[in-house]
Subunit: 207 residues, 2 copies
């Protein structure tokens, strides 16, 4: 039910997550939408415009999701799990096997400057939110934190993106879940089972 511009952003996002900025063309995109190549220019004058729109849309989506979590979910660990579960689902059901901003970040030195700037804004948003969640989690006693919230947040972000690289490199989506779960286990306070929080179930299924 989306308009063409929206579909363009959506499809472009998938293509970027698949093979990066230089890995897709207006021709690919046009074919997916069932329109002609120059029609894309009507919505996005240049490829740079399009890709920036894609990143900014992703950023907006995440920001609004963060807002929902921060307003509706008081528990820090539950917020983190919601975020992690989102990516677990995306990666395991193949609907998105990598964060598109992550792909762009890796090829960032070769990207147009404005695209790079948008990517950095995305990472900043995410990093700042994680910092808030970490601080909250320590306060709540759900997260053990021998380090400062800032450090833990960066560490967590590293684990997420590193796990995506691993899943790609080994061609095994399960690797993401496996690695991220191992990380979460270490981050929790000791003996999480005896905590005040209900835990859904065991997912640690051997790989």
């Amino acid at each position: 039910m989306k308009d063409t511009a929206g579909k363009l952003i959506e499809e472009a996002g998938q293509l970027i997550a698949h093979a990066g900025y230089n890995g897709f063309s207006y021709a690919d995109l046009a074919e997916r939408l069932g329109i002609r190549k120059p029609s894309i220019h009507h919505h996005f004058p240049s490829k740079v415009d399009l890709v920036i729109a894609v990143v900014e849309q992703q950023r907006a989506a995440i920001r609004s999701q963060i807002a929902v979590l921060e307003n509706g979910e008081p528990d820090a660990m539950a917020q983190l799990l919601a975020y992690v579960d989102y990516w677990k689902r995306c990666i395991e059901d193949q609907s998105a096997t990598f964060c598109l901003a992550g792909v762009l970040a890796v090829e960032l030195p070769g990207l147009p400057l404005e695209v790079g700037a948008a990517v950095q804004r995305h990472f900043n948003d995410l990093g700042l939110w994680l910092e808030r969640v970490m601080a909250l989690g320590v306060e709540q006693g759900a997260i053990k934190l021998e380090l400062e919230p800032r450090t833990s947040a960066q560490f967590f972000q590293t684990a997420i993106y590193g796990a995506m690289v691993m899943a790609r490199a080994y061609g095994d989506p399960g690797k993401f879940t496996f690695v991220v779960d191992a990380f979460l286990a270490r981050m929790r306070t000791e003996s999480p089972g005896e905590n005040d929080l209900p835990r859904r179930s065991r997912r640690d299924r051997a790989e």
Copy 2:
């Protein structure tokens, strides 16, 4: 003092690490070497051949470095630190701001199959070595390991590549060192100085 084929592999490696497979061309490469574009085909018939050669050369270099470490350095933690220090130096002095196989891994779904296979071989080599080192480290009591060596190795690899993504995304090479050090700190046995094993010297120098 390298021959042209060697220079091509070296320069291509830098270009790939910079912007990925689709982010460089034979024209770029020719300009760097000061030769004409078609001359490259004399050494590497196709771009796929060239890139595979680059990955395989990198892989061979790492394999031989691993062999040196495993024969000459009995201490597991010291082996890990040597590996980490290598990347710290490369990233902080900007001589290589990302593992080229890592860049290729991220865009793997859009790569020629043979290139993807070479990239996976590289990751396998690295993963298997890390597994051996982890097992050795636990045996030596230098690494605390509530998880199996296999899991810890994957976790470590995740941290390395995740930290590279972070350094790129935030445009800050220091982030790599920062995050990796935080990871190493968590991985070590508590108060490593009071262990049963003699440790050569303190290398934990704060960042």
